[in-house]
């Protein structure tokens, strides 16, 4: 729709340009963040950096990379089925009873709880009560993954519910008219249509888990480690923790290493988000 031409004064033009600046300024900050960090760490970005241990020369991030990889795989295994389950329950089974409304309101609240509090919850439940910690050094891979799972589950539930809601109700009614049970409808009609959206949401949530440092540090993750984790109860490091450790040391060489590790972290997250977009695209064209 073409709107009628309006009386335009300098105030209008100034206001419009001011608003445009408000869009461009954050984008400028984003670009300068990436570029300046890249310049800071560029001399270290070689294969040695991802293949070496932090105590070697040149220093590397191998244990942190392996730790992050383990964490994200374990977190995915734990959080995605539970998140999908809760979302399917809320969208397909829950009636408008107080019980389902309580669960829905509760999940909305949990999504806003600060990540340090999840760290404390993990410390009290997984390490102090269930004893999932490492004998000598507080945190273990499994305790970290359990805590991150609790942290991102609400995000997975919220995005999965949105994906489930896009499936038209008529399709469900058609399935039920053909005599399918509730689960058969979900399994054969609803899920194939909603799955691309659900997976994309989960992958975005997992990429948030990769960048989280605070809950892992609250759990007592070790900041300096020179070996690879060898089991679920092993101590570990992760990329954000390694970056944090280097940032705390007052020496320019460590700052450079932190910058290079940040570039690796951002690159990893970018790849993961790219995969999410690709999955959505592929699955959508398969359904059609």
């Amino acid at each position: 729709m073409k709107s009628v031409s309006l009386r335009k004064t300098w105030v209008d033009t100034a206001f419009r340009n001011l608003c445009l600046c408000a869009v461009l300024l954050p984008l400028f900050v984003l670009c300068s963040l990436v570029v300046l960090t890249g310049l800071e760490g560029r001399s270290l970005l070689q294969l040695d950096f991802v293949m070496n241990y932090p105590h070697e020369i040149p220093a590397g991030i191998l244990p942190a990379m392996v730790g992050s990889l383990w964490l994200v795989i374990l977190t995915a295994i734990l959080s995605v089925p539970l998140g999908f389950g809760a979302a399917i329950y809320l969208e397909e089974y829950a009636d408008n009873s107080w019980r389902s409304r309580l669960i829905a309101a509760n999940i909305a609240n949990l999504a806003a709880v600060p990540s340090v509090i999840y760290g404390l919850l993990g410390l009290s439940i997984f390490i102090r009560i269930l004893g999932l910690g490492h004998t000598h050094q507080g945190a273990s891979l499994i305790a970290g993954a359990c805590t991150l799972s609790l942290l991102i589950m609400p995000i997975i539930v919220v995005s999965s519910r949105e994906a489930l809601r896009t499936v038209p109700i008529e399709l469900r009614e058609a399935g039920s008219g053909l005599g399918a049970t509730q689960w058969q409808i979900i399994q054969q009609v609803v899920l194939p249509l909603a799955l691309p959206g659900m997976l994309t949401g989960s992958i975005l949530a997992l990429s948030r888990a990769i960048g989280e440092a605070a809950p892992l540090l609250v759990l007592g993750a070790v900041t300096f480690i020179n070996f690879l984790p060898d089991g679920l109860d092993a101590p570990y490091s992760a990329l954000p923790i390694q970056i944090f450790d280097w940032l705390r040391r007052p020496n320019d060489a460590f700052i450079e290493q932190a910058a290079a590790a940040i570039i690796v972290l951002l690159g990893t997250m970018l790849t993961i988000n790219g995969v999410a977009v690709w999955i959505r695209y592929r699955l959508r064209s398969n359904v059609r």
């Binding site: 209008d12 608003c19 984003l30 963040l33 800071e40 509760n106 806003a112 609400p154 970056i243």
Partner: protein, 305 residues
């Protein structure tokens, strides 16, 4: 595939039961948080009086661990003030920029530009907070120091500014939804009365969308007070022995989150654990109130539509 009616209903019941458990797990997470923080808070107030906790102006919980040290003081006020001051700086950055960006995207941008710019802004929200901390400490602080030479190396100002850019997408995205859903007929009524575009936006569109904008600011504020790594790295890297009420953003500043994370990542004695759980309970209560308030606003917006 032949499924007898009975077997089918048994598996259906099983699946429904499993899915219900997944939903119920979230209740147990909340109960777990309440139990963890609540039980420690009760034992904390057995030794510390609530008046001292709420009204003392000094936070020095661990000085008593050394010999010949003065008594520890447990006034939470400096921590709350530090948290709110940094979040306040963040809002001073995020609200004008986020709202301006939302107005541009909703009122001026072509649909095509909008579809490019909106996801581009969202990228900022996905950057790990440790990266923002690095940016505040290594890049922004030296930059501001060239203008303000008495800015400390670790300070609340750059932490707050960078945190502001972190929450811009939150303010922008939700405000833009609110502005965009203002009916076109209202805008045209404004133009029909001879108002210019800018006065229509300021006097018609923004007031109509005000509840939605308020929700976006509240949620962004909630996110800001729960933010840990930016504050820890750029504003308060070392444990101060005592924290007093301070309004100076040019100096280092302790927040509740930084206190919790730093204390917990060191060696924690039972006393330290109790103290940090009490701070966490305060933080949880504040974020819960903010969230509850915004939920109420959302319900009200839904009713008026």
């Amino acid at each position: 595939m032949q499924i007898t009616g009975k077997a089918r209903s048994a598996s259906e019941t099983f699946i429904e039961g499993f899915l219900t458990c997944c939903g119920a797990l979230s209740i147990f997470v909340t109960l777990g948080i309440l139990w963890t923080l609540g039980s420690e808070t009760i034992s904390f107030f057995e030794t510390v009086s609530p008046t001292a906790f709420f009204f003392d102006a000094t936070w020095s919980p661990f000085v008593g661990e050394f010999l010949n040290a003065p008594d520890p003081q447990y006034g939470i006020r400096p921590l709350i003030l530090g948290t709110f001051l940094i979040s306040g700086i963040a809002l001073l950055v995020a609200v004008p920029i986020g709202l301006g960006a939302a107005i541009y995207l909703s009122e001026y941008a072509q649909p095509k530009t909008r579809h490019v710019l909106k996801p581009a802004l969202e990228i900022l929200a996905g950057i790990p907070t440790i990266v923002f901390g690095f940016f505040a400490l290594i890049i922004l602080t030296p930059l501001i120091q060239t203008i303000l030479p008495n800015l400390a190396n670790y300070n609340a100002l750059s932490a707050g500014i960078v945190m502001g850019f972190m929450i811009v997408p939150m303010v922008c995205s939700l405000s833009e939804d609110a502005l965009f859903s203002v009916p076109q007929t209202l805008r045209e009524a404004g133009y029909g009365l001879g108002a210019s575009k800018v006065s229509t936006i300021c006097r018609v569109v923004i007031p109509t969308a005000s509840s939605g904008i308020a929700v976006s600011i509240l949620l962004a504020f909630g996110r800001a007070i729960g933010e840990t790594m930016i504050v820890w790295i750029a504003a308060a890297p070392f444990a101060p022995e005592r924290v007093t009420v301070s309004w100076n953003p040019l100096d280092s500043m302790e927040s509740m989150t930084a206190f919790i994370a730093r204390t917990s990542s060191g060696d924690i004695s039972p006393e330290r654990y109790t103290t940090l759980c009490v701070v966490a309970a305060t933080l949880f209560f504040l974020t819960f109130m903010i969230n509850w308030l915004s939920q109420r606003l959302i319900v009200r917006i839904g009713r008026t539509r």
